[in-house]
Every structure is written in C-alpha cells, then in structure tokens.
C-alpha cells in the first residue's frame, strides 16, 4: 500500500477498467474497513428498499383509506395545529448531527484530536436526542392515539405495522450508531488513534480512518431518514 500513488493512476472510466484489471486490490486507496462498510451499507440499502417498496405495495393495493400522515403526526402548539412538527425537528436534528460528523472526519484526518473528539460527542448527543424524540412519538401514538400494528382509528389497518417496522428499524440503526459514537468519542479523547493503542474487542491498532468509516455509517442513517421522511411522512 505504501508504494501506491493514487494520483498517478488513470482516472474515470479508464481508471475503472485499470482498477478491475489490476492484481492485488481492486479498490485502490480504499482501506479494507471502508470497502467493507460500503458493502454493508449497500446490503442495508436493499433492506430499507424492501421495507419502502412493501409500503408502496400495501398502500397502493388497499381499498381502505390510507391515514393522512400530516394529521396523524401533527402536534397542537399553543392552540395551533402544526403538521409533522416533531418529524421536522427530528429531521433537522439528524442533519445537524450529520454535519458535525462530517467535520469530525475532517478534523480527524488533520490529526486535530480534541476537535475531532468533541464533534463526535456532539454527534452522539444529536443522535440521542433523535432517539428520545422518536420514543416520545411512539408513546404518543401508542398510548394517546391507540395505533397498533393490526389496527388504528385513522384508516387502513396496515398503517401501524408499516410505521412500527420502518421507523423501528431505523431507530435501531440510530441507537447502535449512538453507542458506537460514544465509544469512539472516548477512544479519540484518550488518543487511541494517535498512539495506536489496540482496541478492546479487536486487539488491532487503529487510526483516524476509523472515524471516516464510522462517519459513513452515520451519514447512511441520515440518508435513510431522507427517504423515510419523503415516502412515509410526506407522501
């Protein structure tokens, strides 16, 4: 790897042919951890696609009226009905945490340990806020509105099962991300990526590339929310 100079390789379509025809590694300049994370994210894309395509199929094939998400997820603030208020705030919180993560990756590569660690911590807190608001949303829908996976008072019975399945699966991804963000914030503060201290579970040395890989996962969680927001809440 140390002999490889990416800037000297052909780019674009020629580079594509060159890389696939080369021996040893196909993905030049991509650490194996990053390639594996991308492949995992690709498989996760298919999982979420299957959920959203099932949603489309159920919604298009039911003869019952589909509940209008704008009203189901609306909140009354100071006597005014605001549609999708909580969902909009959740969207902005997640985008904010995605921004802090992008900056953490940048500062990581600049070997700015403190800034990187604080930004990862900020990202983790953003993610935690998101999960907290989702818990509030779920409890409101379950206890106040009486939405169940098998029935709901607003319309088509399938609505509940798709809501819990899709947002639940996404919320699980966010929660796992938050756990890893806290772990990596600690590791960064401690200077693991500068000293090459071995990981507790992997026993392997790591460096700031790990932050970029963690960042890929976190941006993906944000990316999935973009699609859920569009197809489940807005459509």
């Amino acid at each position: 790897m140390s002999e490889l100079d990416i800037s000297k390789l052909p780019k674009g379509g020629k580079g594509f042919v060159h890389d696939f025809a080369a021996d040893q590694t196909t993905f030049k300049g991509v650490p194996w951890g990053k390639a594996m994370m991308w492949i995992f994210l690709l498989s996760d894309t298919f999982i979420f696609s299957c959920f959203l395509i099932s949603l489309m199929t159920a919604r298009a094939s039911t003869t019952a009226e589909w509940p209008y998400p704008s009203e189901v997820f609306g909140l009354t603030m100071f006597g005014v009905e605001v549609p999708l208020l909580l969902i909009a705030i959740m969207t902005f919180v997640l985008i904010t945490s995605s921004g802090t993560m992008a900056l953490a990756v940048k500062y990581g590569y600049e070997r700015n340990r403190k800034m990187c660690a604080w930004l990862i911590l900020a990202t983790a807190i953003g993610g935690l806020t998101f999960v907290g608001m989702q818990a509030f949303e779920w409890s409101k829908l379950i206890f106040h509105d009486g939405i169940r996976p098998w029935s709901n008072p607003f319309g088509a019975a399938q609505f509940g099962s798709f809501f819990f399945m899709i947002t639940g699966f996404h919320g699980t991804h966010v929660s796992i991300g938050v756990i890893f963000l806290f772990i990596f914030a600690r590791k960064t503060f401690r200077g693991d990526f500068d000293t090459g201290r071995r990981g507790h579970f992997t026993s392997m040395k790591s460096d700031y590339k790990a932050i970029e890989i963690l960042g890929l996962y976190w941006h993906f969680v944000d990316l999935v929310w973009v699609f859920i927001f569009a197809f489940f809440y807005l459509w």
Binding site: M1, S2, I6, L9, K11, G13, G15, F16, D19, T26, F27, K28, G29, V30, P31, A35, W38, L42, T45, F46, S49, I53, S54, M56, T57, A58, A60, S61, T62, T63, S70, P83, L84, T91, F92, I95, T96, S98, G99, M101, A102, L103, K106, Y109, E110, G196, Y208, K209, E212, G215, L216, H219, D222, L223, V226, F227, F229, A230, L234, W235
Partner: protein
C-alpha cells in the same frame, strides 16, 4: 507507522464545503417540509417530494460520504446495484395494481 498513515490518509477538504452542504441540506429539508405545510396535492406534491429527496441524498452521498472523491471502481460497484431497486419498484407497482383490482372486484361483486 506515522509515515504510513500520512500517505494513506485522504486529502482533507476545506471546512467551507462542509458548511455549505450542511446549509443546503437545511434549506432543502425546509423546502420538503413546506410541501406539506402548503398542502400541495397530486403530481406537484409527488414530484417536489422526490426532487428534494434526491437532491438531499445526492449531497449526502457525494460530499459527506466522500463518493465524489472516490475512484470510479468503487463508485460504480456501489451505484449500479441500485438499478435493481428501480426494477423492483416497477414490478411491485404492477403487482399492487392487480391486487387492488381483484380486491375492488371482490368487494363489489362479492366474489
């Protein structure tokens, strides 16, 4: 170890581009929220939702996830499989229309 790290590390980008994309994501999220706020309906609503969704997804993937700076080998490996999703959407659209038709027929005719 130090030497090695420096060679492998991706070139960093100026902070400006991240802040710009961050701001744009806020703007486009607000736009897609306004689609609901103003209660646009029908084709206008659907096309606006998809438009803003694709712009946001593109910005996140290309800049935040650095795909814009990756080599074509990995970009192509990641993006081409997505076409399978579009094919699947097409198949299931046809399927759901057929299901809707048989259900409507059953509920009207009583089987």
């Amino acid at each position: 170890m130090e030497q090695n790290n420096k060679k492998v590390a991706t070139t960093t980008h100026s902070i400006g581009i991240y802040l710009w994309i961050w701001g744009l994501l806020f703007v486009f999220s607000t736009c897609s929220y306004l689609v609901d706020w103003y209660e646009f309906q029908g084709l206008l609503r659907w096309s606006l939702i998809i438009f803003f969704m694709l712009i946001k997804a593109g910005l996140i993937m290309s800049i935040f996830m650095h795909l814009y700076w990756e080599r074509w080998a990995i970009v192509n490996v990641l993006l081409w499989p997505m076409t399978a999703i579009i094919v699947f959407v097409g198949i299931m659209t046809a399927e759901s229309q057929y299901t809707f038709f048989t259900r409507a027929l059953f509920f009207v005719m009583g089987g």
